[in-house]
C-alpha cells in the first residue's frame, strides 16, 4: 500500500509539474506581456525597465524556476481586469463551481442508478430500450445546447425555473441538469453491465431460492455489489464535470471559476487564465488520486499490496 501511495503521489506531482510547464510555455507563446502593460507611446527604456522589473530579461530556465516558486506559493500575478491577485480571485469563486458540479453529479446519479438497474432487470424490454436511446442522445447532445433548450422550454416558455444567476437552490436545477446530462449515458451502461453479471451470480440465486422478495434481492443485494464499478468512476466524472462547468457556467451566467476564466480569455487577462488552468489541473489530479486510493475502501478485494 505504501509503495503504491508513493508511486501515485509521484505521478500526480509529475502531472501537476507538466501542467505548470505547459502554462509557462503558453505564456511565452503569447508574446510580450510588457506590450500589454505599457501605454502605446512607451519608450524603449520603459520597455527595458519593465522587462527587468518583471524578470523577463533573465534566461528562460531561470524564469521557469521563478515561475514555479511563485506558483507553489499560489502567486500567478495580478489580474489585469480586476486589479487583484489571480488565484484568490478564482478560489473565491470555486465554491460556486463545486456546488454546480456536485449538483450535476447528483442529477446524473438520480437518473443513472434507476435506469441502469431497471434496464438490467428488464433486459431487452422497453425500459432497456429507453435507456439505450437516452444514452445515445446524451452523448450526442452537447451540454450547452441542452442548457439552451432547458432555458427555452422550462424557464422562458413554462417559467417553472429561473435560468440565470445563483440566487438560491432553484437556480441550481437547470445548470445541474445541463451539466449532469452527459455522463448519464456512460454511468447507466456501466451499472447495467455490472448488474447483469451480478444477477447471474450464485448468491443472488441463493437469495431468490431462500424466498427473499425480488425487490430486496435487486435493490439491496445486487445493487450493493454492482455499484462498485460505478462508484469508482464517480470521482473521474466529478473531475470532468468541473471542466464541463466552464461552458455551462457561461450559458447560465453562473458566477463560478469557469465563467471567470472564459471572461479572462476575452480580456487577455493571462494571470487569471493561467491560475484557472493550474487550479483545474490540481483539482483533477487530487480527485483522481483520492478515487484511486478509495478503491480499497469501497471494495476490500482491491487492496494494493
Amino acid at each position: 500500500m505504501r509503495a503504491y501511495l508513493i508511486r501515485r503521489l509521484w505521478q500526480g506531482a509529475v502531472a501537476v509539474l507538466g501542467a505548470l510547464l505547459i502554462v509557462f510555455v503558453a505564456q511565452r507563446l503569447a508574446g510580450d506581456p510588457v506590450a500589454l502593460l505599457l501605454p502605446m507611446d512607451a519608450s524603449e527604456e520603459d520597455f527595458a525597465a519593465m522587462r527587468e522589473a518583471l524578470g523577463l530579461d533573465r534566461p528562460l530556465p531561470v524564469q521557469f524556476v521563478v515561475f514555479l516558486r511563485d506558483a507553489f506559493s499560489g502567486d500567478f500575478g495580478e489580474s489585469y481586469q480586476w486589479q487583484a491577485p489571480a488565484m484568490p480571485l478564482l478560489l473565491e469563486r470555486l465554491p460556486a463551481t463545486l456546488e454546480l458540479a456536485l449538483a450535476g453529479l447528483v442529477f446524473a446519479l438520480l437518473l443513472a442508478v434507476p435506469l441502469g438497474v431497471l434496464s438490467a432487470v428488464y433486459r431487452g424490454r422497453w425500459v432497456d430500450r429507453l435507456a439505450k436511446v437516452l444514452a445515445l442522445l446524451g452523448q450526442a447532445m452537447p451540454g450547452f445546447w441542452v442548457g439552451l433548450l432547458l432555458i427555452l422550454y422550462l424557464a422562458v416558455r413554462l417559467q417553472w425555473l429561473p435560468a440565470f444567476g445563483r440566487e438560491g437552490p432553484l437556480h441550481l436545477v437547470l445548470p445541474a441538469i445541463a451539466l449532469g446530462w452527459y455522463p448519464v449515458a456512460a454511468m447507466t451502461r456501466t451499472l447495467r453491465s455490472s448488474m447483469l453479471d451480478i444477477l447471474d451470480s450464485d448468491y443472488i440465486r441463493t437469495g431468490r431460492v431462500m424466498g427473499l422478495p425480488e425487490r430486496t434481492v435487486i435493490w439491496r443485494y445486487a445493487l450493493r455489489n454492482a455499484a462498485v464499478p460505478l462508484a469508482t468512476m464517480i470521482g473521474v466524472y466529478f473531475a470532468n464535470m468541473l471542466g464541463g462547468a466552464f461552458v455551462i457556467e457561461v450559458v447560465f451566467a453562473w458566477p463560478g471559476v469557469g465563467r471567470t476564466v472564459v471572461d479572462a480569455v476575452f480580456a487577455r487577462d493571462f494571470p487569471v487564465v493561467q491560475a484557472g488552468v493550474v487550479l483545474s489541473a490540481v483539482i483533477f489530479v487530487v480527485v483522481n488520486l483520492l478515487v484511486d486510493l478509495s478503491y480499497g475502501l469501497i471494495d476490500p478485494r482491491i487492496r494494493h499490496g
Partner: protein, 283 residues
C-alpha cells in the same frame, strides 16, 4: 457469459447514420451550389422569419431566418463545411501523431515507452476545456487554433489505445519471426504493426468525428473558436442565445445539426467496432 455473447444477433449496418454523414459531407463539399441563399446574405426586412410550417413562415426560408434576416438552412449548410474541415484536419493530425507515438511506445518499450506514457499521463491529467482556454488565450482565433486545441486534446486517445494493442501484437509469432529473420525495426513498424492497428484507428476516427464536432461547436459557442464572418454551428447558437425569448428556431436548428452529425458518427463507430471485433460487443 458465453451464452449471452452467442445470442447477440448480427447488427445491421446503420444505413440512416451513413445517410446523415453522407449529407453532412455533401453539404461541406457542394453546399454553396444547392444552398437556397448566400449564408451571409442580410435581408433585414425578412428578419426573424419563423420556419415554414409556422404562421408567417415561407418556403423561401424553410428553417426561418435570424435577426439579420439571414437564411438558417443556408447557414447550417455553410456551417457543415467548417465543421467537416476542422474534423478532418483534427482527426488526421491527432490520429497520425497519436498512432505514431502509440506504436513506438508499444514496440520499443523501455525509455521510449516511459517518456511517451508520462506525456500521455500529463496530458490526461489536465482537463480538456481549461487547457483549451489556455490555448485560446494565446493563439490567434480561427480554424487553425481550433484544430491545434483538438489535436492536443485527442492525440492521447489514439496513443493510449494503439500502445495497448501493439504491446500484445509484439508478442505474437509473426512479429517475432519478422524480427529474427532480420527485418528492420522501421519495416516491422510500417509493414507489420501499422496494418494491424488500422481497424482500431478507423473506429476511433469515426467516433472522434462526433466528439470533434461537439468540441468545435462548444469553442465557437463561447466565441473562442471559429470567428464571424465564417459560419459555424456553435457560433449560430451563440447568436441565437440573445433572442431565445422570441425565436426558438435560432437555437434549435443548429443544435439539431450538431446532434444528428454526432449521433450518426457514434452509431457508425459502434457498428464498425462490433464488426471488426465481435468480442468487444456490449451486451
Amino acid at each position: 457469459m458465453a451464452e449471452r455473447h452467442a445470442a447477440i444477433p448480427k447488427r445491421r449496418m446503420p444505413v440512416v447514420s451513413c445517410a446523415v454523414l453522407g449529407l453532412v459531407l455533401l453539404c461541406a463539399v457542394a453546399g454553396p451550389w444547392f444552398a437556397p441563399h448566400e449564408a451571409s446574405e442580410i435581408a433585414l426586412a425578412e428578419s426573424m422569419t419563423p420556419p415554414f410550417w409556422r404562421t408567417g413562415g415561407s418556403l423561401d426560408h424553410p428553417l426561418g431566418t435570424d435577426m439579420l434576416g439571414r437564411d438558417i438552412l443556408s447557414r447550417i449548410i455553410a456551417g457543415a463545411r467548417v465543421s467537416v474541415t476542422v474534423a478532418i484536419y483534427a482527426i488526421a493530425l491527432s490520429g497520425g501523431i497519436g498512432a505514431a507515438l502509440g506504436i513506438s511506445a508499444g514496440y520499443f518499450g523501455g525509455i521510449v515507452d516511459a517518456v511517451i506514457s508520462r506525456l500521455i499521463d500529463i496530458q490526461m491529467s489536465i482537463p480538456a476545456i481549461p487547457l483549451a482556454m489556455l490555448f485560446a488565450a494565446v493563439l490567434p482565433p480561427g480554424e487553425g487554433m481550433v484544430i491545434t486545441i483538438i489535436v492536443l486534446t485527442y492525440w492521447t486517445w489514439y496513443a493510449r489505445i494503439v500502445r495497448g494493442e501493439v504491446l500484445s501484437l509484439r508478442e505474437r509469432d509473426f512479429i517475432t519471426v519478422a524480427r529474427v529473420s532480420g527485418v528492420s525495426s522501421p519495416m516491422i513498424l510500417i509493414r507489420h504493426l501499422t496494418p494491424n492497428v488500422l481497424n482500431t484507428l478507423l473506429v476511433l476516427a469515426t467516433l472522434q468525428f462526433g466528439s470533434v464536432i461537439v468540441f468545435e461547436a462548444g469553442l465557437s459557442f463561447l466565441g473562442l473558436g471559429i470567428q464571424p464572418p465564417q459560419v459555424s454551428w456553435g457560433g449560430m447558437l451563440a447568436d441565437g442565445r440573445n433572442f431565445i425569448e422570441v425565436a426558438w428556431w435560432l437555437i434549435t436548428m443548429p443544435g439539431i445539426a450538431i446532434m444528428a452529425s454526432c449521433l450518426a458518427s457514434n452509431l457508425l463507430g459502434d457498428w464498425l467496432r462490433d464488426t471488426f471485433d465481435p468480442k468487444r460487443r456490449i451486451t
